[in-house]
């Protein structure tokens, strides 16, 4: 196995609060890695950094492999200009470019997709449209070709429709394809959001509490779906989850955060025996 994502020395401060302090971890390609920790430990902050919604103060996030042989996710967000750039026109150009066109969307384009803790669907659009929006960068989005309905445009729209149908079938949502996303039951909305993230054809799928609000049966089914994603589709998955039963069952690797710091890493068995983790969750007796 090789690493797909390397996070090094990630530190982020909001005003005087240090939300993350030198967070280090790697995600192996084709694995399920879970980020766990008590409330307020900084799990979602890590997620927002990895998916490009927050910019860390220091540290680096690298996504390996892919078409261009790896990308520095932080650089995609745009870095602030520095005086020394004046002597290095190439770096200045690259920084200006990323400043103008950088942002979370670029992170998605290199292969990181995510879902949200509080579901963010396009409620007034149908289920199918939600999935078509996700394929914006894979279809011919030119103005002219769409207006004249060129052959290429129609072929790509059909391909997008097929891909969307396939994912809908996988998540057992095909009968709902023409319903509005906002009127689906909660559990279906969670699955739809995952389907939508997968439609962007990511290499790393980040799931933010996918089992939140699901009943035990649904949680079990979701765990199986996530395992299938790894085994059948070679998807690499990074997830945040509070449901320890599910986390211990499906994860290959765990990273435990507390107060913005990594306190333990390892397989589920190792983590379950780790004293610091137990202390973080249950509190420790005063020495």
């Amino acid at each position: 196995m090789s690493a797909l994502l390397t996070v090094q020395d990630l530190t982020i401060r909001f005003g005087g609060v240090t939300a993350l302090q030198q967070v280090d971890f790697t995600v192996q390609a084709g694995s399920i890695t879970a980020l766990i920790g008590p409330n307020g430990a900084g799990k979602t902050t890590v997620f927002n950094c990895v998916t490009g919604f927050y910019r860390a103060n220091t540290g680096s996030i690298h996504l390996h492999g892919g078409a261009n042989g790896g990308s520095n996710l932080m650089a995609l967000l745009g870095e602030s200009l520095q005086w020394s750039d004046l002597w290095q026109p190439k770096r200045l150009g690259s920084r200006l470019y990323h400043k103008m066109f950088g942002g979370p969307h670029r992170v998605n384009q290199v292969g990181v997709a995510r879902t949200f803790q509080n579901i963010r669907l396009f409620n007034a659009l149908t289920v199918m449209e939600n999935l078509l929006v996700a394929q914006h960068n894979q279809v011919d989005s030119g103005l002219l070709s769409g207006l004249i309905q060129s052959r290429r445009f129609r072929a790509q729209e059909q391909a997008a429709l097929q891909r969307a149908s396939a994912w809908l079938r996988f998540f057992d949502l095909l009968p709902e394809a023409n319903r509005l996303a906002g009127e689906l039951p909660y559990g279906h909305q969670r699955r739809l959001e995952m389907a939508r993230a997968l439609c962007t054809q990511p290499r790393l799928l980040c799931l933010d509490e996918p089992a939140a609000g699901l009943n035990p049966n649904e949680t079990k089914a979701l765990g199986r779906l996530i395992l299938t994603l790894r085994d059948r589709f070679d998807m690499t998955i990074l997830l945040i989850e509070h449901d320890m039963g599910m986390v211990m069952e499906i994860s290959d690797h765990l990273v435990v955060l507390d107060h913005g710091e990594v306190i333990a890493r390892g397989t589920p068995e190792e983590i379950q025996r780790d004293d610091r983790v137990l202390a973080a969750y249950l509190g420790s007796e005063p020495a």
């Binding site: 979370p104 997709a113 396009f122 659009l125 929006v133 769409g146 309905q149």
Partner: protein, 418 residues
């Protein structure tokens, strides 16, 4: 059948309520006279018409044929919604093409105005209805279009045909210029900035007297058709059209010309908007309206999507402006007040955000109704306002809700994910 009948009766009752004050009370001198037979007659026509229409529609199977179960049996995945049947399109085309035969000069000018408002409504619908960016300064782009033609003609003898694309381009550019600073704004804040932008344009036009002529305005030549002029005597160095064809001069010719040209432009725009809604860019607009954060997480750059909505909407507004200048033969800043922006916004909201047919219906309603109500000129604006209030109470989502495209799915979707 009985249910349809009762429904028709109910609709008739509503019609009676609406028509009674409008047509039943006639002011004569200082007294109100009751003419109760008129509203009763109108309500009866509505009742019978509604009943016949619903029965006919049922028997022709117009609506029931679009069921989900049927579409699911289609062999291959097709993007498709119930496209309107060619018969309806042909009927509509025939109606609009033959309308000038019935309308007089006055009616024709109302029709032209209605078409301009349809154009503006559809343009603003892109920005407000689809992309969800509340724009209270749309009239600015209308003004840019009108003044492009007016000033272009005044200074460079720009022809109407050149002004049309140039006005659209310039308005689109202004749309993007407005778009840049407001990229981060939403809702109320965006509305206030656009409101300011609209006023700035109007004030510049009003106060830059040396260039725009200020409140005195600029006069515009009437467009020519391949060098043929529509005036009695040639003024622009061409041949008057009635001399060319050897027919009598009629002031109607120019209105006819504008009407048909606008009809063509509006038709083209409707086709464009229908296609835009099913294109990636149109879907991205709607997605952005629904949830910007989710959009970014899916790799959609909100800047380009927003700017394209502003730009395209403004372009349509610019085209409307060029036509307005051509129709009036004269432009001055008083045509581009905030009231105009509000009126266009009312068209979009009344029609139903994002719905093309709804916006067209609302534009017709809001331009034709005030003209029909000229006899009660004192109560004209009042009754338009009342109609709006009632509309919003009864149908808060507008005349017509935006219909979502329907996707007929394959009987068995591909087994493997590509």
């Amino acid at each position: 059948m009985l249910a349809r009948f009762w429904m028709a009766c109910r609709v008739g009752g509503i019609a009676l309520l609406l028509f009674a004050p409008i047509t039943g009370l006639v002011l004569s001198g200082y007294r109100l006279e009751g003419h109760w037979q008129t509203p009763l007659l109108l309500a009866a026509v509505v009742t019978v018409g509604h009943f016949l229409f619903s029965v006919l529609l049922h028997h022709l199977g117009g609506l029931d044929r679009l069921g989900v179960g049927r579409a699911a049996a289609l062999p291959a995945a097709t993007i498709g919604l119930s496209a309107p049947k060619p018969v309806w399109i042909a009927l509509l085309a025939l109606l609009t093409l033959s309308l000038p035969l019935v309308l007089g000069k006055y009616g024709l000018s109302v029709a032209i105005l209605a078409l301009i408002y349809i154009l503006l409504g559809l343009g603003l619908n892109i920005v407000v209805g689809l992309a969800g960016l509340l724009d209270l300064g749309f009239v600015a782009f209308y003004a840019v279009g009108a003044y492009t033609y007016a000033l272009g003609y005044h200074y460079f003898h720009l022809s109407f045909w050149l002004a049309l694309p140039l006005g659209a381009l310039l308005a689109g550019l202004f749309g993007m210029v407005l778009g840049f600073p407001v990229l981060r704004l939403h809702g109320d804040y965006l509305a206030i900035v656009t409101l300011g932008f609209g006023e700035i344009i109007r004030l510049v036009l009003n106060n830059w007297v040396a260039v725009t002529g200020g409140p005195n305005g600029v006069s515009v030549a009437f467009p020519t058709l391949f060098g043929l002029e529509f005036s009695r005597k040639a003024k622009q160095g061409g041949i008057p059209i009635h001399e060319f064809f050897g027919i009598d001069y009629s002031a109607n010719h120019r209105s006819l010309f504008l009407y048909f040209l606008l009809l063509g432009v509006v038709g083209l725009l409707i086709l464009m908007v229908i296609r835009l809604k099913r294109m990636p860019i149109g879907r991205a607009w709607e997605a952005l309206r629904e949830n910007e954060v989710a959009c970014r997480s899916l790799g959609i750059h909100h800047v380009t999507v927003k700017l394209s909505a502003f730009g395209l909407g403004a372009m349509v507004g610019g085209v409307g402006g060029v036509f307005f200048a051509a129709l009036q033969g004269f432009v001055n800043p008083s045509s581009f007040t905030f009231f105009e922006s509000a009126y266009i916004l009312a068209i979009v909201v009344l029609g139903g955000m994002g719905s093309t047919s709804g916006v067209i219906a609302a534009a017709l309603l809001l331009t034709v109704m005030p003209e029909l109500l000229r006899d009660f000129s004192d109560y004209r604006v009042l009754s338009v306002g009342m109609a709006m209030v009632l509309m919003m109470v009864w149908r808060p989502r507008g005349l017509r809700q935006r219909r979502r495209p329907f996707f007929a799915l394959p009987a068995e979707a591909a087994e493997r994910v590509a």
